[in-house]
C-alpha cells in the first residue's frame, strides 16, 4: 500500500494532462504525419501494405506513449534494472530461437509484431545506467569498481547484439550507454584515453570484422569500386539526394525511388526518398523538426528535479541525435553503411516502439518534474 502511494504522485489526472509538454507532442505528431506521407510515397503513391502497417503501428505506439507518460517517473526508476535484465533475457532468447533473415538472427515473431529486442535495448541501457548514476555517490563515480560495473552493463548487450550479428545497433547501444557515463561525471581524461586507445586499436578491430562489414567500409571509402554491387546503394542514394536540388522533385515525383533505383527505401534509406522529393528545404525542415524535439527533451531534462530523470532525458535526447546523425551520415555517404533506422520515419515496429517508449518516459518526467526520487 505504501509502495503504491509512493508510486502515485499527488497530482490528479487533469493536472497531469495540463502538465503534458504539448510542443513535444505536437512535434512528434507532425513527424508521424510526415512519415506516413513519405511511406505512402515509398509504396508508389498507393495505399499499400507498408503505409497501412506504418499507420497502425504509429497509432498504437502513439497512444502507448501517452499512456506511459501518465505513469509516475518513479515507476521507471524502480523497474529500470528489471527492464534491463528482461531485455537481456530477450536477447539471449533471440540468439537461440530468433528468426533468421539474410544471415542475421535478430527477431522474435510475436505475430502482431516482429520484435527486435536490440532496439529495445537502446532504451533499456539508458534507463539502467541512469538509475545506476542516480543512485551512486558522486565521489564514487570515478572509482575503478563503479566504472567497471557501468561498462559491464554496456558490454553485455553489445556482445549479444554483435553475435546476431548487428554492428549498427551495437554501436548505437554503446553510444547511448557511454553518454550516460559522460553525463554521470566520469572524468573527461578517461574518455580521451579510451578514444585514443580505440583509434590505435581500430586496425585490429577491422581485422576481426565480418567480410561483408569490411566490404562496407571499403565501399564507403570508394563507392565507385563496385558501382553495381556493394557501392550501388550509396551511389544511388547520393544521386537521389543530389538530384532533389533546392526544392525537390515534388511529392510522389522522386524518380529514383519510383523507378526502384533506391534500395531499402522503406527503412534505412527513407531520408533519401524524402530528400529527393522535398529537396534541400524539406531536409532542413526535417532536421529542424528533429532539433526541436531534441531541444524540448533537453529542456524537460533541465526542468526535472531528479538526477534519474535528467540523465534519462539527456541520454535519450543524445540517443535520438546519434540515430539521426548515423542514419543521415550513412545515406549522405559520410559513414559506411551500417543498418540504422531514422527514428519514427523508418518503417519498422521495434525501433518505433523503443522511440515511443522513450518519448513516453520523457513526457512522464515532464509531468512529474517535481518528483524527488530517493
Amino acid at each position: 500500500m505504501f509502495q503504491h502511494t509512493r508510486l502515485n504522485s499527488d497530482q490528479n489526472f487533469f493536472q497531469k494532462v495540463k502538465n503534458l509538454d504539448y510542443i513535444l507532442i505536437f512535434c512528434i505528431l507532425i513527424l508521424s504525419i510526415v512519415s506516413l506521407f513519405v511511406m505512402y510515397s515509398t509504396d508508389g503513391g498507393e495505399l499499400l501494405f507498408h503505409t497501412k502497417s506504418h499507420l497502425i503501428k504509429l497509432s498504437v505506439f502513439f497512444i502507448l506513449m501517452l499512456v506511459i507518460s501518465f505513469f509516475n517517473i518513479k515507476l521507471w526508476h524502480v523497474s529500470s534494472y528489471f527492464l534491463y535484465i528482461a531485455t537481456i533475457l530477450l536477447l539471449i532468447w533471440v540468439s537461440f530461437y530468433g528468426i533468421r533473415v539474410s544471415g542475421s538472427q535478430r527477431w522474435i515473431n510475436l505475430y502482431f509484431l516482429v520484435l527486435q529486442p536490440s532496439e529495445l535495448m537502446k532504451i533499456a541501457v539508458i534507463l539502467c545506467l541512469a538509475k545506476y548514476y542516480h543512485r551512486i555517490n558522486i565521489e564514487k563515480v570515478n572509482t575503478f569498481v563503479s566504472i567497471s560495473f557501468a561498462l559491464t552493463i554496456i558490454i553485455i548487450p553489445i556482445i549479444l547484439v554483435l553475435s546476431q550479428p548487428d554492428l549498427g545497433t551495437s554501436v548505437l547501444i554503446a553510444c547511448s550507454g557511454l553518454i550516460i557515463l559522460w553525463l554521470g561525471g566520469v572524468k573527461i581524461k578517461y574518455f580521451f584515453v579510451s578514444l585514443i586507445t580505440f583509434l590505435i586499436s581500430l586496425p585490429f578491430i577491422i581485422s576481426y570484422l565480418q567480410p561483408y562489414q569490411k566490404l562496407r567500409i571499403l565501399t564507403f571509402l570508394d563507392p565507385d569500386r563496385d558501382p553495381l554491387g556493394a557501392g550501388y546503394q550509396i551511389i544511388q542514394s547520393k544521386i537521389a539526394i543530389g538530384s532533389g536540388g533546392f526544392s525537390g522533385k515534388g511529392y510522389l515525383q522522386g524518380t529514383q525511388s519510383y523507378l526502384d533505383f533506391l534500395p531499402e527505401k522503406h527503412t534505412d534509406f527513407i531520408f533519401t526518398l524524402f530528400s529527393e522529393e522535398f529537396g534541400f528545404i524539406g531536409s532542413i525542415g526535417l532536421l529542424l523538426l528533429y532539433s526541436i524535439i531534441i531541444m524540448r527533451i533537453i529542456r524537460i531534462g533541465i526542468l526535472t528535479r531528479s538526477s534519474f530523470a535528467k540523465l534519462f532525458c539527456f541520454g535519450f535526447a543524445f540517443a535520438i541525435f546519434i540515430y539521426i546523425t548515423v542514419n543521415l551520415s550513412m545515406v549522405l555517404g559520410l559513414l559506411p553503411i551500417v543498418g540504422s533506422p531514422l527514428p519514427i520515419m523508418s518503417y519498422g515496429g521495434s525501433s518505433m516502439l523503443a522511440t515511443m517508449i522513450g518519448f513516453g518516459i520523457v513526457l512522464s518526467a515532464k509531468i512529474h518534474s517535481k518528483q524527488v526520487i530517493a
Binding site: N137, I138, I179, W182, L183, G184, G185, Q236, K238, I239, A240, I241, G242, S243, G244, G245, F246, T255, Q256, L259, D260, F261, S275, G279, F280, S283, I284, L287, S291, I294, I298, G301, I302, S307, K310, L311, F314, F318, F321, T325, L328, S329, L332, L334
Partner: protein
C-alpha cells in the same frame, strides 16, 4: 544537507556536461546541413544528370537507307515495307504452345523453331523476339485472322532494302546484310548507329558509300526502372533517311547487257568517252542481292558459291584476262609514236614467224601475205604485230599501254575489290620472276598474250581514250550532283568532274586518227574480223577490234586438228573479246565485251556490240535531255 548539496553538485555536473554535448550536436548538425548543401545545391546538376541517366534510356531503331538511283532517277536500290512478327515473351502465357501454333500458321521449319527458342533465352522477357523477319502478305493476313487468340504476338511493319531490278546491278551496288563484328569495329559510323536488325552494305557501292547511305536512327526515349523495364515513352525523335545516290549507269543498257550475257560468263562495260561516265557495267553471271536481306539460305548460298561460272566475282573489275588482239591498237599506236614504222611499212605474213629456233604462229595458217598497218589491224594479222613488237621492244610498249590505263585501277576508289592487272616489261620480269626478258616474250606481248593481264574496265577505258582523240579521262560511276562525305570518293569525284582534255596521251594526234581508221576498217570493211557485226547506218556505225585470248598454250597436235569451239572442253576454250567505240562519225561511247571461254572474238563477242550500239545511241537522245548532260567539243 550534505545529501542535498551532493544532489545539486550532481545536477550541476550533468547540466554542464549536457551543454558540451549540445555544442557538439550543433556542430555535427551543421556538418550534415553543409553536406546536404553540397549535394543538393552545389552538385545538383551533376546528380540530376546522373539521375536522368539512370531513368532515361534510348532505344535506337534501324535507320532508313538512302535510295540509289540510276542516271534517269529510277530507283535501283530502294526501301520496301516489310511485315515482321514479334513476340513479347512477358505477355505470353504458354510460350511453347504459342510457338507450336505459330509453327502451324506460318509453316515454320523445326530448325527455325529451335533457333527462336534459343534466341528467347538470350532476351529479357519484355524485349521483343523476332519470330519472322519477313512475312509474306498471305502469312500476314493469316496472322491477323488469328490475332485474337495469339496473346503477346505483335505484327510489326518495318522497312527493308529492296533491289527492284534483282540481279542486274549486283556487282555495282553490292548488297546489304546484318553487320558482323568486323564491320562494326572497322567503321565508327556503323558502330554508332548499330542496332539489332540494322542492315549495312557488304559489297560494292553499298559498302563504299555506307556512311552516306546509312541515315540517322529514329530514337525512342523511354523512362525505365532499375531493372531496365520500360515504364513510359518520353519522346520519339525522328531520324533521317540516308543520302540519295545517283549513279551514271543506264538501267536499259544494263538490262540489255544482262540479256546478252545470259548463260555466259563474262563482262560488258560501256563508257562515255568524254565524261568518263560508266553507262553499263555488268558481270555475268550475277546473283540476286534480295536473297541476302533476311539471311540467305544455306542451299541457295551453296548454289551461288559452287556455280562454275563464278557469279561472286565481279569480272568487270576483278577479272584478269589476256587482252588478246584487243591490245593491237595500242601496239600499233606505240610503234607509230616511237616512229618504228609508218603507214607504208609492210610485213609479209607466211602464217608463222621463226625466231631463235622458236616458231610463232599467226592465227591464219596460210598467212596473210604482205600486210600494211591498216590491213594488219583489219585482219588482226599476228605476224605483222610480232614484227613491230620486236622492233619496238616491250619497254616502250609498256609506256604507251600504261598511259592508256592498263595496269592501273580504274574505279578503285569506289570498289575495293578492283584489281590492277599488269603490263610487263623487262624490269618487271626481273623484279617479279628474277629472270631476264626473252625477245620471244616481246612478240607474244605484242598480240596480247603472255604476262599481260587486263580487266574489262581497263580495256573499255583504253578504247575510250583512243576514241576521244587521245585524251586522258577519269572514269566515274557517280554523277557530279551527289553530296558525299567520304573523303576518298570526294577526291575521286573532283578529278572526274575536271575532265578537261588537257592531258593528251599522244605525241602526234595523226597517229590516233590512223588507229581509229584501222579499227573502223576492222569492223566495216570486207575481210575485217568483225565485218559481220557491222552496222551500215552512220547513226549507229561503230569501229572495233576483236580479240581471242588463249587460256592455254596450243599444242602442235591441236593446231593440226583445228577443232571447233564446241569440240574443246569448256575450261580450255579461248576467251572472246571485243572493244569498240561509236558512232564512228561523232564518237561518244566505248565498250568492252568479254565472254569467258566463248571462242573467237568475232563470233562470240562482236555480235553483241551490234545490239548494244543500237540501244546506246538511241538512249543517248534521252541522256542529252537531262540537265547535267554536257556536250564536248574537241
Amino acid at each position: 544537507m550534505i545529501k542535498k548539496n551532493l544532489g545539486i553538485r550532481k545536477s550541476d555536473i550533468i547540466n554542464r556536461r549536457m551543454f558540451i554535448i549540445v555544442a557538439a550536436k550543433l556542430i555535427i548538425f551543421g556538418g550534415l546541413v553543409s553536406r546536404l548543401f553540397s549535394l543538393q545545391i552545389n552538385d545538383n546538376k551533376k546528380y540530376l544528370t546522373l539521375s536522368d541517366k539512370n531513368r532515361i534510356r534510348e532505344w535506337k531503331l534501324p535507320p532508313t537507307r538512302g535510295n540509289i538511283v540510276d542516271y534517269f532517277g529510277n530507283i535501283i536500290a530502294g526501301n520496301l515495307k516489310v511485315y515482321q512478327l514479334h513476340v513479347i515473351p512477358e505477355q505470353v502465357e504458354n510460350f511453347n504452345y504459342l510457338i507450336s501454333r505459330l509453327k502451324v500458321i506460318l509453316n515454320l521449319s523445326n530448325k527455325r523453331v529451335e533457333k527462336i527458342k534459343k534466341k528467347k533465352k538470350q532476351l529479357k522477357p519484355w524485349e521483343s523476339l523476332i519470330v519472322s523477319e519477313n512475312l509474306s502478305w498471305d502469312q500476314f493476313s493469316k496472322i491477323n485472322n488469328y490475332l485474337y487468340e495469339l496473346v503477346g504476338v505483335k505484327p510489326v511493319m518495318t522497312i527493308s532494302r529492296d533491289y527492284p531490278f534483282n540481279d542486274i546491278y549486283t556487282h555495282v551496288l553490292g548488297y546489304v546484310s546484318q553487320p558482323n563484328e568486323e564491320d562494326i569495329l572497322e567503321n565508327a559510323v556503323i558502330k554508332e548507329k548499330f542496332v539489332p536488325g540494322i542492315k549495312i552494305g557488304k559489297l560494292g557501292l553499298e559498302k563504299t558509300l555506307e556512311n552516306d547511305l546509312i541515315g540517322v536512327n529514329d530514337i525512342q526515349r523511354y523512362e525505365v526502372n532499375a531493372y531496365g523495364k520500360r515504364i513510359n515513352q518520353l519522346e520519339y525523335q525522328k531520324g533521317k533517311q540516308g543520302s540519295k545516290i545517283r549513279i551514271t549507269l543506264d538501267t536499259e543498257v544494263q538490262k540489255l547487257c544482262a540479256e546478252l550475257m545470259n548463260g555466259k560468263a563474262g563482262s560488258i562495260s560501256v563508257m562515255d568517252i568524254y565524261s568518263g561516265e560508266v553507262i553499263a557495267m555488268y558481270s555475268s553471271p550475277s546473283y540476286n542481292p534480295n536473297s541476302f536481306l533476311f539471311g540467305i539460305s544455306q542451299d541457295e548460298w551453296q548454289l551461288i558459291r559452287n556455280n562454275p561460272l563464278k557469279p561472286l566475282i565481279n569480272k568487270t573489275l576483278s577479272g584478269l584476262y589476256s587482252p588478246g588482239s584487243t591490245i593491237k591498237p595500242i601496239v600499233a599506236l606505240s610503234a607509230l609514236e616511237n616512229e618504228i614504222m609508218n603507214t607504208n611499212f609492210k610485213v609479209q605474213c607466211k602464217g608463222k614467224m621463226e625466231l631463235h629456233g622458236q616458231t610463232f604462229h599467226c592465227w591464219k595458217e596460210k598467212g596473210h601475205g604482205w600486210m600494211s598497218l591498216n590491213n594488219a589491224m583489219k585482219q588482226s594479222c599476228d605476224t605483222y604485230f610480232y614484227e613491230i613488237a620486236r622492233k619496238l621492244g616491250v619497254d616502250k610498249l609498256k609506256i604507251t599501254a600504261e598511259k592508256f590505263g592498263l595496269g592501273k585501277k580504274v574505279l578503285g576508289e569506289y570498289f575495293e575489290n578492283e584489281k590492277e592487272g599488269q603490263f610487263p616489261d623487262t624490269k618487271w620480269k626481273i623484279n617479279k620472276l628474277g629472270k631476264g626478258w626473252v625477245l620471244g616474250e616481246t612478240l607474244i606481248t605484242g598480240i596480247g598474250q603472255g604476262y599481260t593481264q587486263t580487266t574489262p574496265i581497263q580495256l573499255c577505258l583504253m578504247t575510250a581514250q583512243i576514241a576521244n582523240g587521245g585524251y586522258k579521262i577519269k572514269p566515274k560511276i557517280l554523277t557530279d550532283d551527289n553530296q558525299l562525305t567520304s573523303e576518298q570518293v570526294k577526291k575521286a569525284m573532283q578529278t572526274t568532274s575536271s575532265n578537261e582534255f588537257n592531258i593528251p596521251l599522244y605525241d602526234d594526234p595523226k597517229n590516233i586518227k590512223i588507229i581509229q581508221e584501222a579499227m573502223f576498217s576492222s569492223t566495216n570493211e570486207l575481210y575485217g574480223t568483225s565485218y559481220k557485226s557491222r552496222i551500215d547506218d552512220p547513226k549507229y556505225q561503230f569501229a572495233g577490234k576483236t580479240g581471242t585470248a588463249q587460256v592455254k598454250r596450243i599444242s602442235k597436235r591441236e593446231r593440226e586438228l583445228d577443232l571447233k569451239t564446241i569440240e574443246i572442253p569448256y575450261e580450255e576454250r579461248d576467251h572472246a573479246l571485243y572493244v569498240a567505240f561509236g558512232p564512228y562519225k561523232n564518237p561518244r561511247y566505248s565498250l568492252s565485251i568479254i565472254v569467258e571461254h566463248g571462242g573467237s572474238g568475232s563470233s562470240a563477242a562482236a555480235p553483241m556490240a551490234t545490239k548494244l550500239f543500237k540501244l546506246i545511241v538511241d538512249r543517248h537522245q534521252y541522256r542529252k535531255q537531262l540537265p547535267d548532260y554536257k556536250e564536248f567539243d574537241i
